[in-house]
């Protein structure tokens, strides 16, 4: 029995990411990447109600406890741009 290809986007990495980051459901999480909104919705479905995507994360105010960056199938150069956006000082 092959696993369904209809698995929601990010489903395979979301648990390891949560585990690695040690996220609790009270943490404020910002998700970056091409599927950031889908990952955010997946986090909401799992009870992480304070998750936001880069599209709706507001102004930078050191308000997030965790940043999850899904940079699969993207180049390292664009990752550096994203990291600068998340963390430029």
């Amino acid at each position: 029995m092959a696993p369904s290809r209809a698995t929601p986007v990010g489903d395979r990495i979301i648990e390891p990411m949560i585990s690695l980051a040690g996220c609790s459901k009270q943490h404020r999480i910002v998700v970056a990447g091409s599927k950031a909104v889908e990952l955010m919705l997946e986090l909401h479905r799992r009870g992480y109600a304070r998750a936001a995507a880069t599209a709706n994360c507001g102004h930078p105010a050191r308000q997030y406890d965790v940043a999850l960056v899904d940079w699969r199938r993207r180049t390292f150069k664009t990752l550096e741009v994203a990291l600068d956006w998340l963390w430029s000082s």
């Binding site: 990495i13 930078p60 940043a67 000082s89």
Partner: protein
């Protein structure tokens, strides 16, 4: 002026495609150049990830934030257990008790195959539809759970299609096992 989204104690997790060790080293150097220290790494079947924290989070400051104070370590994670939804069709001539027993047996077989059973969908029908097995309503119900397309794509890739086929395979394996 600093433009930052992460709190001083915040953590950054970056997930990338499987890559060579040299590329991982490039990522580590890039993060360190931005004031992060890579604390953990994980290798997964669909990529690898690193966890980084601000360098200025010294052990004393970590303790103040209630964070674990330890050495950098590498963590291997197991792939997640695949999940399955049992689908049963109770055709005419099959009573409720027999149908329930079949579903229960199917659950055991699926578990033996390494899946975690997370739900069951059952439907009474006069006969099994050759293309989608379930009726439109039940397919939509299943799609709502799996994130599938409700059987509109009939190419054998969806759980809705795979389930009965695998079930028949299980029954054959079980019969072979009992015969041997």
């Amino acid at each position: 002026m600093a433009v930052e989204f992460l709190s001083p104690a915040g953590v950054l997790v970056v997930w990338v495609d499987p890559q060579k060790a040299s590329a991982n080293e490039t990522l580590r150097l890039s993060l360190e150049g931005r004031g992060f220290l890579v604390e953990e790494g994980t290798v997964h079947e669909c990529g690898c990830a690193v966890l980084a924290r601000r360098r200025e989070m010294t052990p004393v400051r970590k303790a103040a934030y209630g964070l674990p104070v330890g050495e950098r370590r590498i963590m291997e994670t197991k792939p997640p257990i695949p999940r399955a939804i049992l689908v049963g069709v109770q055709v005419a001539g099959v009573d409720d008790v027999t149908h329930a027993a079949s579903i229960e047996e199917l659950g055991l077989l699926v578990k033996t195959l390494g899946y975690e059973v997370v739900g069951t969908i059952s439907q009474k029908r006069d006969e099994i539809d050759g293309s989608t097995v379930l009726g439109k309503g039940r397919l939509e119900e299943l799609a709502a759970i799996t994130g599938g397309d409700g059987g509109r794509r009939i190419d054998g890739d969806t759980t809705e299609i795979e389930g009965p086929r695998a079930f028949r395979g299980c029954r054959r394996q079980e019969a072979d096992r009992q015969a041997s």
